[in-house]
Symmetry: C2
Subunit: 320 residues, 2 copies
């Protein structure tokens, strides 16, 4: 693992050590006030055994955007990138070749002052840990359109990959799971009228042959997979709209048979098709499409990630 400490106004000398526990004080600031930010990224192995990251600078930049909102000092981009490279180079023998296999990489930072004053910490610990993974979800999922709970507010920190955004999702998600779903599609906190994103995925809707996804905002994580899908859609000549999506519009499109697909996008599962969505006490099924966009985009993006296709956007990053 990689570790770097912040104190007295600066990041100290980083080091790579073996994965090991560390000592903390019960008053550790992050336990009490949740000042913590993380990222989730993957490294992939191609058929020749070379290891690739996917758009790592996007994660690095987003990490610092998140940190800013949580009043955590930003981590130097160059040190971050070389930390990733060194760590992955050390760990790459753990990565299996083949679709779905990857090294999951988790950079995170936590507030480490040892007192419970309710303000920003003066000390932080930045770490990167990783572990080999296989594909996260298999197959399609059932999602519940949430009408009571909310994930985040205008003016809040929903756009940050901060720990507090996840803690609040567990209880509503547990209820959804008890009702037979796997995940929630969050709606706006005001009227629960607009479809926003899922717990760890952005959401795309396909009406006729147009893709629609919520614009990013204070409330929505600016997903790197989302951004990549939009770019790929444009390249393929598929219309991709970033605009507010009314629940009502989706219900009507389903009714008329023009709602062809819903899928989630995120680093963990790349693309996850939705087979059923639930709203109030009804469930709505989606037929599998012959020309599934979910499948097509999954193929396109994983071909780039695993170095099986040309990388016209320059998204791949070789780990030497």
């Amino acid at each position: 693992m990689f570790i770097c400490q912040y104190s007295e106004g600066s990041w100290k000398l980083p080091k790579i050590t073996k994965y090991e526990p560390f000592e903390v004080d019960p008053s550790l600031r992050v336990f009490h006030y949740g000042q913590a930010v993380f990222e989730g990224m993957k490294a992939y192995k191609d058929e020749e055994g070379r290891t690739w990251m996917f758009r790592p600078m996007e994660n690095i930049k987003r990490f610092n955007i998140s940190s800013k909102r949580l009043d955590i000092p930003s981590f130097p981009e160059d040190v971050f990138l070389s930390a990733l490279e060194k760590l992955i180079a050390l760990e790459k023998d753990w990565i299996q070749k083949g679709e779905g296999n990857a090294l999951y990489i988790r950079p995170f930072v936590i507030a480490t002052d040892n007192n419970i004053m309710a303000n920003s910490s003066s000390a932080y610990k930045f770490m990167i840990i990783c572990s080999p993974v296989q594909s996260y979800y298999s197959g399609s999922i059932k999602v519940k359109i949430e009408q009571h709970y909310s994930r985040s507010a205008n003016g809040g920190y929903g756009y940050a990959k901060a720990s507090g955004n996840y803690a609040g999702q567990f209880y509503p998600t547990k209820i959804a799971i008890e009702e037979g779903f796997q995940q929630i599609i969050w709606t706006d906190s005001e009227q629960h009228e607009y479809l926003e994103e899922a717990g760890t995925m952005n959401i795309f809707f396909r009406i006729h042959n147009t893709l629609i996804t919520s614009p990013t905002s204070d409330r929505i994580l600016d997903g790197i997979t989302r951004n990549s899908i939009i770019a790929l859609a444009k390249q393929k000549g598929i219309k991709a709209e970033e605009r507010a999506i009314k629940l009502q519009e989706i219900l009507e499109a389903h009714h008329k048979g023009t709602l062809k697909e819903i899928f989630g996008t995120g680093t963990a599962a790349t693309i996850t098709p939705v087979s059923t969505f639930g709203y109030q006490s009804n469930t709505y099924d989606l037929q599998e499409q012959q020309d599934s966009y979910a499948n097509m985009f999954k193929q396109l993006i994983t071909d780039i990630q695993y170095n099986r296709a040309e990388d016209s956007f320059g998204w791949r990053y070789l780990v030497k």
Copy 2:
């Protein structure tokens, strides 16, 4: 300190140990997904040297209300109360007599699974730590009425004393401090039209001789000091309204000279008068009142806390 671990569906045998650090894994669930809840309470010493808690069952109940929203198993009320009693009995020699002196008590619970799966932990650590304190704020404060950032959303977990509610406040509060204020008064996330609460205090407005405070909701912590002030006001024949408070109403009352006082209430400082509030680029000063409600209520409540007055509500709890 008091410590009790949860695993395999139940709380294990609690123990009291000396205050000491403990080992954690870098994948500790709370670092990544912020599943953490806390309470803040105080024990006071009277002139005879006896030690008192103030409405401890309210904190215990709120702790479990918070935990439920964060999908953390509730902690048995009776074990909680006796833990507080035992711990305070051990620590009571640290408490000084006299106004402002107290033992600050911090019960908290953190998620302790050692993996980064984005769901509720199966293991938790519940702890109580404490330390002697003196009065938190001295004098009055300047507050900024926030018009851009928000503390929480409808359907969110603002009503819970959960770590993630505090992390999001630090950055906006830092900006407010740079502008010359000490704290923020949060407004609703939709239109920033209604005045809600401060970072660690509920807020009361006095117009003429009527007190007004925001009703509790999804977004607002149900403060025990707030609740006590409302009860004391009723006892004293002072009208106390719990209703939505428009910023506009407060500005107009200030303009007309009927806005007499603003004060915050919370365990840390009991009652904190506001001398100035800022809205957009204006600041509005409040004159000190001869018949200050802030002073009167502070006297009334601390007289009960320090066993200097009759306790007609049964709020004091003797630690044996």
